[in-house]
């Protein structure tokens, strides 16, 4: 669906209206995953492997089953075989089958009449493990004698002799690399490492499942995509999807980590076996050990540059691990690594390696931050060596309309140059710095996504409008969607209410991910509103007894036009609604689409840091985010996304990491030692929204949710490098590492 041709003056879009879920959320009335209960409900609990890698020889559940209050115990034997290997991996992650593949891997679950009975029952389940050698680091998993995490999962396109832990081999690029590097005045090659980080959402996974003896199921859960949860759970339980209704609760953060299933199939299996509703709530410890962190990475980058700052060739070798299962995230890393640059010769290769860690889940722009960190750090080091301004070098090499991107497609209208120019013109870029301070810059990129979307608008008898959509609202999308409906219908924002419907109420909706909701659901809402307008005009044409084409919609009213202009008083939406029962019955608008044209998004981040030379502590002094939003429907929420991504990236850059012991067990499964930033660690994150309309959306909207986590890693690394005069090539840049680098 293309950008509307007419230049329009928006009335609602672009304003900062109150969010409809605000009062419920600040007063504690909002219902999250763990807030739903049912009569006769049981409490579930999950037994998890203490071993990083172990064959499950036997599980004896008899003593647990005999404990008073225990109503069901399930293991992998209680699930069906999944339709295909990707789904089977998702199921095996929820419940180990032949082997426990990581510390915290679920091996059995119980449902009992109380939480204490459930916990007591876990201790009575006897699991006979054969402990196997384990591997948690990428380099170790690639060694010839490394334990094989899962047999027969080697990438089909892998060259002869590739390690069986390598599950994906990808390559992108174009041009003659050798000739490119030959033309450079300076070529550098560097290796980088990034740790696995967790999405760190406040709300642990939680659900309430109920399966009746006639095979129908109800599931209430905290998820980014209840339709996808339905598909997976129905597959694992052998149900028809139509018989399983999934309702999404309010969600306390997801950031990609709630785009798949974790405990939901287990709750359903327990409920089916017990014949009663079952609630399952993960502890924080379980969230860290068994729900998706992002990938960790080990990458090599080679870039050649001329004395005046033109990149002549660029090459990347990315190695990601995404846990104990095949994981395609490296492909997105290889595609995005050089997306910000207009390059004649470029190549990005990537492999994915299995390790004994939990199955990674998407985390905001999955795969891009670690690749772009490595690239943007290398570009910065070249700028330092050649004495060039890092912003001018980015401008000189920036991808723009017509650039053949490193991953293949040719870019349409994109906002990178405008974003860089905005950063250059901003006072932040020229502000003075003191000793031990440094300024870092990085570009970031994300593809964005559209996908399957289905929206219904219902006109109520009083002329107000209900919007029914199917994507959990993580970032304020109910407000943005109401705004677009109001804009299109020409009515005030507070005359529209948007709800997130259950899976039985609408056709399939893709997951809330890929920064897709404001774009795709917005687009479908606009189309559904236009559908409703056509129907309203037709009703009015009937009343006036004129041609349908002679009725137009303006400012919330049907007006006679063309040959009939001025013949009748305009009819408002309320007037049309009031007599709908006499003109043909209820009026609704509907649209379904598999939306493409999401439009890529670029961002530029600027950060100033001060490093304490005696302790290695990094303080963030100033931070500015510049990002192209296409059209900012609700600027507060756009800024919120830009700030939130920056903050998560700051945590990733400075302190967050999964730390595994020699025993293969996660050492920091809690917020004390898994250090996300606290409010007092941060300055106000300033934001500059650019609006370069996306040609693929009627209002020009682009997704904004993910790009913002991409630049902080390199921006921070570049700032620290300039503050201390030494460069770290590994994240997080924790104080011990910085102090070590200072000592040289």
């Amino acid at each position: 669906m293309a950008l509307d041709d007419r230049k329009r003056a928006f009335k609602v879009v672009g304003t900062r209206v109150p969010r409809p879920d605000g009062i419920d959320k600040v007063t504690g009335r909002a219902l999250y995953g763990a807030d739903m209960s049912a009569p006769g409900m049981l409490h579930g609990a999950i037994l998890r492997s203490p071993h990083a890698h172990a064959r499950i020889r036997a599980i004896d559940t008899s003593r647990a089953e005999a404990l008073p209050g225990v109503k069901a115990v399930v293991t992998s034997a209680d699930f069906c075989r999944a339709k295909h290997s990707f789904n089977q991996d998702a199921l095996d992650h929820c419940m180990a089958r032949e082997k426990a593949l990581y510390d915290g891997h679920a091996v059995a679950a119980v449902a009992a009449t109380s939480k204490s009975a459930a916990r007591a029952a876990l201790e009575l389940i006897a699991v006979e493990y054969e402990v196997l050698p384990h591997v948690t680091e990428i380099e170790d998993a690639l060694k010839p004698d490394a334990p094989v995490v899962q047999e027969d999962r080697r990438a089909r396109n892998a060259p002869e002799g590739t390690h069986p832990n390598v599950t994906h081999v990808v390559s992108f690029g174009h041009g003659d690399l050798e000739a490119g590097f030959a033309r450079a005045d300076r070529v550098i090659e560097r290796s980088f490492r990034t740790a696995a980080t967790h999405q760190g959402y406040i709300e642990p996974h939680a659900c309430l499942a109920s399966v009746t003896p006639d095979g129908r199921g109800e599931l209430w859960c905290c998820t980014q995509g209840h339709y996808y949860v339905r598909e997976l759970c129905a597959d694992f339980l052998g149900m028809d999807t139509s018989q399983l209704r999934v309702t999404a609760s309010e969600i306390g953060g997801g950031f990609g980590g709630k785009t798949t299933v974790t405990i939901e199939p287990v709750a359903l299996a327990l409920s089916r076996k017990a014949g009663r509703p079952v609630k399952l709530v993960m502890s924080r410890d379980e969230v860290f050990r068994a729900s998706g962190p992002t990938v960790s990475s080990w990458s090599d980058i080679k870039i050649g540059m001329t004395r005046d700052g033109r990149i002549t060739a660029a090459q990347a070798m990315l190695r990601y691990q995404g846990g104990a299962f095949p994981c395609g995230t490296v492909e997105l890393g290889a595609m995005s690594a050089f997306a910000a640059y207009d390059l004649e010769a470029v190549r990005a290769d990537g492999i994915n390696v299995m390790t004994n860690r939990p199955r990674q889940a998407a985390y905001r722009a999955p795969g891009a931050p670690m690749a772009i960190y490595a690239v943007e750090s290398t570009v910065d080091e070249l700028c330092q060596e050649l004495g060039l301004d890092p912003l001018e070098v980015r401008l000189k090499n920036a991808a723009r309309k017509g650039t053949k991107s490193a991953y293949g497609p040719t870019f349409d209208d994109i906002g990178l140059v405008a974003t860089l120019e905005a950063a250059k013109a901003h006072p932040h870029y020229a502000a003075p710095l003191c000793p031990n301070q440094g300024r870092g810059l990085s570009c970031g990129f994300w593809f964005n996504f559209g996908g399957n979307t289905c929206v219904t608008l219902n006109l109520d008898a009083d002329g107000t409008v209900g919007v029914t959509e199917g994507n959990p609202d993580i970032g304020g999308s109910r407000a943005s969607i109401s705004m677009m409906a109001a804009e299109e219908l020409g009515i005030p924002y507070d005359k529209v209410r948007t709800i997130v419907a259950d899976t039985a109420s609408l056709g399939f909706n893709d997951v809330t991910d890929g920064s897709r909701v404001t774009f795709a659901v917005g687009l479908a809402t606009i189309e559904a509103a236009r559908d409703m307008i056509r129907k309203m005009c037709a009703r009015v044409a009937k009343i006036w007894d004129i041609d349908e084409e002679a009725v137009i919609w303006e400012d919330g009213c049907a007006r006679p036009a063309g040959p009939n202009a001025g013949d009748f008083e305009p009819m408002s939406i309320a007037e049309i609604a009031a007599i709908a029962n006499k003109t043909g019955g209820p009026i609704a608008g509907h649209h379904e689409v598999n939306a493409d044209g999401a439009g890529v998004s670029f961002g530029v981040h600027l950060v100033d840091v001060e490093v304490d030379p005696e302790t290695g502590h990094t303080k963030i002094l100033r931070y500015t985010v510049f990002q192209d939003a296409g059209k900012a429907v609700h600027p507060d929420y756009v800024e919120g996304q830009m700030q939130g991504g920056a903050v998560q990236g700051i945590g990733w850059a400075l302190n967050e990491e999964y730390i595994y012991g020699e025993d293969g067990r996660l050492q920091n499964p809690g917020f004390l030692d898994y250090r996300i930033p606290v409010a007092s660690d941060l300055p106000k994150i300033d934001t500059v929204i650019l609006e370069i309309p996306n040609p693929g959306h009627p209002y020009g909207v682009r997704g904004v949710g993910e790009t913002s986590i991409v630049p902080p890693l390199a921006a921070l690394s570049n700032a620290v490098a300039r503050a201390i005069g030494a460069r770290l090539h590994e994240l997080p840049m924790s104080p011990p590492r910085i102090l070590q680098a200072l000592k040289g």
């Binding site: 005696e614 290695g616 502590h617 004390l672 030692d673 250090r675 104080p735």
Partner: protein, 287 residues
């Protein structure tokens, strides 16, 4: 599990003594309840000491202050006398957790929990505070540095508990300070820490110094050699450098998820140096 909230110290001691299994004192619960929730501890008996008359009072005594074992940390900062006399102890307590945590957490609990990283402890040791221990055989006084013996272990005998802590009187031109290093700015656990208490003469020369280090050994360390480096000096750069070096040399930390040996050894000296400067400033030594 049994829960008791006795109304007298002797009743508390008797209950603790009589329980054959694991009996625990419950003060603010900000360590104990967390340990119980995680499954690390499963006590048979909890003895809540908050209802014992007098234990929730801060009382003046011989120019110093006696802190009852049930006084939540937040009350120290609200007490002008304690603030003025031992600002380093107060700043250490005010680093514990958050405002909410300080509303529950006690100084005695911080001490008895015996975490090597406990924030109040180095400040108490630098202040030469004395714990009054109540037990089945009555009361005894014990230097605070002798209460913790190793991670999670204290020297209290069966039936004993800390009833109060005395922050002693202090001469004029004296002050203390406490600093810790955490990667973030709050809600974190000390990777290394230092409490410093100084007494200066009319000239601003240091006549007495006590330096205590946290999170760099199995329990709080009293850095006597380091303290000696300051005696007779006005904390000139050379004296401070020697003191920092002595702290680093004394420190015997471990490598763990929170920091490395090399990092902790260096940073503990830096903290002691910076804390000493603050204490000097507070004692009027830089004027």
């Amino acid at each position: 599990m049994q829960f008791a909230a006795p109304r007298s110290a002797s009743e508390a001691a008797a209950l603790l003594q009589a329980e054959p299994g694991d009996a625990r004192v419950l003060a603010g619960g900000s360590d104990l309840l967390v340990q119980m929730k995680s499954g690390a501890l499963r006590p048979d008996l909890l003895v809540d000491i908050k209802r014992i008359p007098g234990l929730d009072a801060i009382t003046a005594e011989d120019g110093g202050f006696r802190l009852g074992a049930a006084v939540p940390g937040a009350r120290l900062g609200e007490h002008a006398g304690v603030r003025a006399l031992w600002p380093g102890v107060v700043e250490a307590v005010e680093l514990i957790g958050s405002t909410q945590v300080q509303g529950r957490a006690t100084v005695a609990g911080n001490l008895c929990n015996a975490s090597p990283a406990a924030d109040a402890v180095p400040a108490l040791v630098a202040a030469d505070a004395v714990a009054r221990v109540f037990g089945p055989r009555g009361e005894r006084d014990c230097p605070v540095s002798d209460i913790p013996v190793g991670p999670g272990r204290n020297s209290l005998a069966k039936g004993e508990f800390v009833a109060s802590i005395l922050l002693p009187a202090r001469p004029k031109r004296a002050a203390d300070a406490y600093l810790r290093f955490i990667p973030r700015t709050e809600m974190d656990i000390a990777v290394a820490s230092a409490g410093v208490s100084l007494v200066l003469d009319e000239d601003g020369r240091c006549t007495r110094a006590r330096i205590a280090l946290g999170a760099v050994g199995p329990k709080v360390l009293l850095a006597e050699e380091a303290a000696h480096c300051l005696i007779g000096t006005k904390l000139e750069d050379a004296a401070l450098a020697a003191m920092a070096e002595a702290c680093s040399a004394l420190a015997s930390p471990i490598d763990d998820k929170r920091g490395t040996v090399a990092f902790r050894k260096q940073v503990v000296g830096v903290l002691a140096k910076r804390a000493a400067k603050i204490a000097q400033d507070r004692a009027g030594g830089t004027k």
